[in-house]
């Protein structure tokens, strides 16, 4: 399988590796995918969070329900510290190298540093996903002391306090997030931003990119808001209208969104889910990816190795071909599609289903690419005649 046929989704890309290192990372990712080794794992250490983002995919933070079950998964209490430590050992034994700790907000967990200690003992390369608002100087310094910390990913929802704080519903969060980012960078850590674009902040997309560029920070841009894993869909009220996506693709996101890919093969269409990528939710459900709320099993009931090797869900995902994606297979927009399995599952209930928003986005990218390729309009006849005469 060539590297071109083995794309790694943005969320499982490795932060803080330079130049040739990325080539080697791609090589090892391809090896993991081919050999079905869970090289990349995310552990959601808690769903507790100190902010209440409008678009949060975990659960409705304004009106939390009891338990937040993944499809086919559990509505049990969150994993204990001991359970998470055990799972970390099981992941390492199964071949995991790149471990992402995510939430909720990871700094809401009292034992974050217990997990980081264990990750260092186990020789994990660690990435953290945080909103950075709780990174006081002492906390940031303690985090930076871990030699195996590869990088920190921070989500941002605006270029101004009013917009960002409006999304997080926490006054002061914009300032605190940027303070945290700057502390981490001052300590020499690699930081990557993730911009989630929605109705509330689309008008600041260009300014958000400019801010990151000015600070020399790498970033990802994500337009896909999904319904929540608790089954509610209030988050979708923040989702961009298709007309706004088109405006963004014609304007500030043209270089990112309007790209023609290659015609997918069965190998390239299959993402890293359940091959080189796995996630453990705060309640112990084992998912193909943290954004795909389908449970292959639960680490309280089975060992991770057993779930990874024999879960019917994972085996089915590993055997899928393009033809199994009934809507996608005949679609003309596949070369332009940033297919998200998480969006497909939350919108359709099926791993092979589709999210109409993603489909609309691919159609827009396709159309704009075609427009760009179309030959320039010939000058009006009169002008040509004038030249001849």
């Amino acid at each position: 399988m060539s590297e071109r046929e083995a794309p790694i989704c943005d969320d499982s890309s490795v932060i803080g590796v330079d130049g040739d290192g990325q080539v080697l990372v791609a090589k090892v990712q391809t090896w993991a995918r081919k050999n079905v080794v869970p090289l990349n794992a995310a552990i959601e250490i808690t769903q507790r969070c100190n902010i209440r983002c409008l678009h949060c995919y975990n659960f409705d933070r304004d009106e939390p329900r009891d338990g937040c079950a993944t499809q086919g998964g559990s509505a049990k209490p969150e994993l204990s510290t001991e359970e998470i430590l055990r799972v970390m050992g099981e992941l390492r034994a199964a071949g995991c190298l790149f471990l992402m700790l995510t939430g909720g907000e990871i700094l809401s967990h009292a034992d974050l540093f217990v997990f980081l200690d264990r990750a260092r003992e186990l020789n994990f390369s660690v990435q953290l996903l945080t909103n950075a608002t709780m990174l006081q100087p002492g906390v940031a310094a303690r985090i930076a002391s871990y030699e195996n910390l590869q990088g920190v990913s921070v989500s941002l929802y605006g270029a101004t306090p009013a917009v960002h704080d409006g999304v997080t519903q926490m006054p002061g969060s914009f300032r605190r997030t940027w303070d945290g980012i700057r502390r981490l960078r001052h300590l020499g850590l690699s930081v990557r931003l993730k911009f989630i674009l929605m109705k509330q902040n689309a008008h600041e997309a260009e300014a958000m990119r400019a801010q990151a560029d000015a600070d020399g920070l790498p970033y990802l841009v994500d337009l896909t808001i999904t319904s929540r894993h608790d089954g509610t869909n209030g988050s979708l009220s923040t989702r961009l209208a298709a007309s706004t996506v088109e405006d963004l693709y014609r304007g500030p996101l043209r270089d990112l969104g309007v790209k023609e890919g290659f015609e997918p093969t069965d190998a390239s269409w299959a993402c890293n889910c359940a091959r080189g990528n796995v996630a453990i939710t705060a309640r112990g459900d084992v998912q193909p990816c943290i954004s795909v709320p389908l449970a292959a099993g639960n680490v309280r009931e089975q060992s991770f190795a057993e779930i990874w090797a024999s879960s019917p869900l994972f085996q089915r995902i590993r055997g899928l071909k393009i033809a199994d994606y009934e809507t996608c297979a005949p679609c003309d927009h596949k070369r332009y599609c940033h297919r998200s399995r998480g969006a497909a599952v939350t919108a359709s209930g099926s791993y092979t289903g589709v999210d109409p928003f993603v489909c609309a986005t691919a159609e827009i990218a396709h159309r704009l690419c075609d427009e760009a390729k179309a030959p320039a309009e010939p000058p009006p006849a009169r002008a040509r005649l004038a030249v001849i005469s």
């Binding site: 803080g16 590796v17 080697l24 020789n123 030699e147």
Partner: protein, 97 residues
């Protein structure tokens, strides 16, 4: 037990992330933002460096496992390889290990 007069002893940096890939191994160094790929022999040496080990000891162990190289050739190869790892900060000399 290593003979300290014979050759320097080293230990891999215990904090570095690494993973075996079949015969090879990948070592990640977040501080330098670099990734290193070790071939089969390199991966075996990395394994042996889990505990403080001298170049001579590693060469002796490898001589039992790999045919076709003289002990002296192996020793020179190991010395160069471990020196390279040391230059990159991936292994620590005795005393710092």
């Amino acid at each position: 037990m290593a003979d300290e007069t014979k050759s320097p002893s080293w230990r891999r940096d215990p904090s570095l992330p690494f993973q075996r890939m079949d015969e090879d191994a990948i070592v990640v160094d977040p501080r330098s933002r670099q990734v290193h790929l070790l071939n089969e022999t390199g991966a075996r040496i990395w394994e042996l460096l889990e505990t403080t080990t001298s170049v001579d000891e590693i060469a002796e162990l490898l001589a039992d496992e790999y045919e076709g190289a003289t002990p002296e050739e192996l020793r020179r190869e190991v010395e160069a390889f471990v020196g390279d790892l040391g230059g990159k900060g991936l292994v620590l000399p005795r005393g710092r290990a």
